[in-house]
């Protein structure tokens, strides 16, 4: 464990250093990030000036929006930069170097890069959740439950993302697939009640964005059922196991062990 932490510290400090190496780039990225943030706040205020969603007050809707922003930030910090790196590795043939290191390759490929550009979104999201939960108000004692649910949500999104990323071993160009994934995740911006029943089904069982934002929000607001948490846990475990198995299968194909 100590060794893992040492490696993780090296990974993250070097990737942050590499980002900071280009100072002008840093400034441009920081400006871009804050503009996106301002746009996000503006869109939010416009939207909730209308009727809102059935069964969700403005403040309750804010919790969902906050969860969405926080997840978007976390994705920008960890998932997106690592995914683009996997594609680079396969293209340049440097995946070999990853496989030759005495450390789990999936771990390296998932956590190698930490990018600072999602931090504003992450902080903004947490702020909005706190504001919404305070005014909604959240039910006492449900905070832990919501955090656990959000944790399962994080594992679910990681599992889906890594499944897609793994396909780059066969199809090098997978940027498009991740764009589709990102577009579907946008559905998590609003409570599931905002969608017709058929969409709700898709967002719960096919691309389970419901578990990222709506489920933790409902638990936080004290109206979730234990079955929801159980479902999230089951799905998280399933996706984690599936991503692991699929990665091993891809590796067998990469090294020609299956043929």
């Amino acid at each position: 464990m100590a060794r893992l932490l040492r490696i993780l510290r090296c990974y993250w400090s070097t990737s942050l250093q590499a980002e900071l190496e280009y100072r002008s780039n840093f400034v441009v990225q920081a400006i871009g990030s804050s503009l996106a943030l301002a746009g996000s706040i503006f869109a939010l205020s416009l939207f909730y000036r209308g009727a809102g969603f059935p069964g969700w007050t403005f403040e309750e809707g804010l919790v969902v929006q906050g969860l969405y922003s926080a997840f978007a930030g976390a994705i920008a910090c960890l998932l997106s930069p690592n995914l683009s790196r996997i594609v680079q590795h396969v293209e340049a043939g440097t995946l070999d170097f990853v496989l030759l290191k005495p450390i789990d390759a999936q771990l390296t490929l998932s956590l190698r890069v930490l990018s600072p550009w999602g931090v504003p979104d992450l902080l903004f999201g947490i702020g909005v959740i706190a504001y919404g939960a305070w005014h909604a108000p959240a039910r006492e004692g449900s905070v832990m439950l919501a955090i656990v649910a959000a944790g399962f949500g994080a594992i679910i999104i990681y599992g889906m993302w890594f499944l897609v990323a793994t396909t780059s071993v066969w199809f090098t160009k997978i940027y498009n697939a991740t764009e589709v994934l990102r577009g579907l995740l946008d559905a998590g911006r609003f409570p599931m009640a905002a969608y017709p029943a058929a969409y709700r089904f898709v967002f719960t069982f096919v691309v389970p964005v419901a578990f990222l934002t709506t489920v933790p929000a409902e638990l936080l607001l004290g109206r979730g059922q234990p079955a929801m948490l159980l479902g999230a846990a089951g799905l998280a475990l399933l996706l984690l196991v599936a991503s692991r198995a699929f990665w091993r299968f891809a590796l067998k194909s990469y090294t020609g062990a299956s043929g």
């Binding site: 060794r3 490696i7 170097f97 496989l99 030759l100 290191k101 005495p102 090294t255 062990a257």
Partner: protein
């Protein structure tokens, strides 16, 4: 790890074939290919067997696409053999166990593991963490290797600012930080200028003498092989066609010796042709290829009949020798298959 007698690298009937898709040219071909895939099996490496003892430095020669890199990838566990087996330090490479990965390293001249935007020292620290190298060990090894590579003052410069030669030396440093017992080097001097090549060669020689590490290296530069590798493996079209000493390779295939004669005055061309095949005549210097059995008598005749002011006998350049090895095995193959 193992004593000098038992091999550290062992390949037995090592074979790798790839299935590749066959597609006819044009849109019609693409459509046919879309509905019905035709595939073909290509043998990259065919029943290659050899053993290497601890501490040996072995050169691995062959044309592009002969199967060198595929063999190295099987030995490092990046490719799974289709048939046959290999063992490195007693481990099955394709299982890629932690102990195995701690014991080997792979340097590829055309790929880099150094982080492009950061100084070398950051990659070194990262590798130290990954390989579990302690701080004291890290300092000692970096000091020693950086001094040997004359790289001590370059470690804090961003890698993108280093010259190609410095970058390769830094790659070697990063690849050797964990003290591997077996080094697989794939074209480690690729693209380097002569000075940098000499520096890398010199370093590898010292490293081998100092640590007793085993080295298996491929190179297109014959000077690398003659300077470092007493033993060479020659692979052609996936099959091993020579395994033995470099001198033996020269004797077996480079049978003809090169006679270089400096003449005091010009002579008839016919007098030179009588000695053997005239390779070149430049000013007063003639180069003549001679069969080794006739060498003594030819030298005697030249000294007796020609106005010789200087005479030397050389081995032919190794490029030519390897070319002949490949040429011979090609002819043998063609004779067998009747093509």
């Amino acid at each position: 790890m193992s004593d000098a007698g038992t091999p550290i690298i062992e390949a037995t009937g090592l074979t790798k074939s790839f299935t590749v898709a066959q597609k006819d040219p044009g849109l019609a071909g693409a459509l046919r290919h879309f509905f019905r895939r035709r595939t073909k099996e290509i043998r990259a490496v065919t029943e290659v067997s050899f053993t290497i003892r601890p501490g040996e430095v072995v050169g691995f020669l062959g044309a592009n696409g002969a199967g060198k890199t595929t063999t190295l990838k099987m030995l490092t566990g990046l490719l799974h053999p289709s048939a046959g087996s290999c063992a490195v330090g007693g481990w099955q490479p394709f299982q890629r166990t932690r102990d195995f990965l701690q014991a080997i390293t792979l340097v590829m001249g055309n790929k880099q593991q150094l982080m492009w935007d950061l100084p070398t020292v950051d990659t070194l620290k990262l590798n130290a963490a990954i390989y579990g190298v302690s701080d004291a060990e890290y300092r000692a090894r970096v000091d020693e290797l950086a001094a040997m590579l004359e790289l001590s003052d370059k470690l804090t410069q961003p890698v993108r600012k280093l010259s190609l030669g410095e970058r390769m030396k830094a790659e070697l440093l990063a690849a050797l930080l964990h003290g591997p017992k077996v080094l697989f080097l794939d074209e480690p001097t690729l693209g380097l200028d002569v000075n940098a090549q000499v520096a890398v060669r010199h370093f590898l020689k010292r490293y081998n003498a100092m640590t007793g590490a085993t080295i298996l290296m491929t190179s297109h530069y014959m000077a690398d092989i003659t300077a470092l590798c007493p033993r060479v493996l020659v692979i052609h079209e996936g099959a091993l066609v020579h395994d033995g000493g470099l001198d033996e390779l020269m004797r077996r295939f480079g049978a003809r010796r090169e006679l270089k004669i400096e003449l005091a005055r010009a002579v008839e061309r016919g007098a030179l042709d009588a000695l053997g095949e005239v390779l070149s005549v430049e000013g007063s210097v003639a180069r003549i290829a001679v069969e080794p059995a006739q060498l003594v008598s030819v030298v005697g005749r030249a000294l007796a009949e020609l106005p010789v002011s200087d005479l030397t006998v050389h081995d032919p350049p190794i490029e030519e020798v390897v070319g002949r090895v490949i040429g011979k095995s090609q002819r043998a193959n063609h004779a067998e298959t009747g093509t």
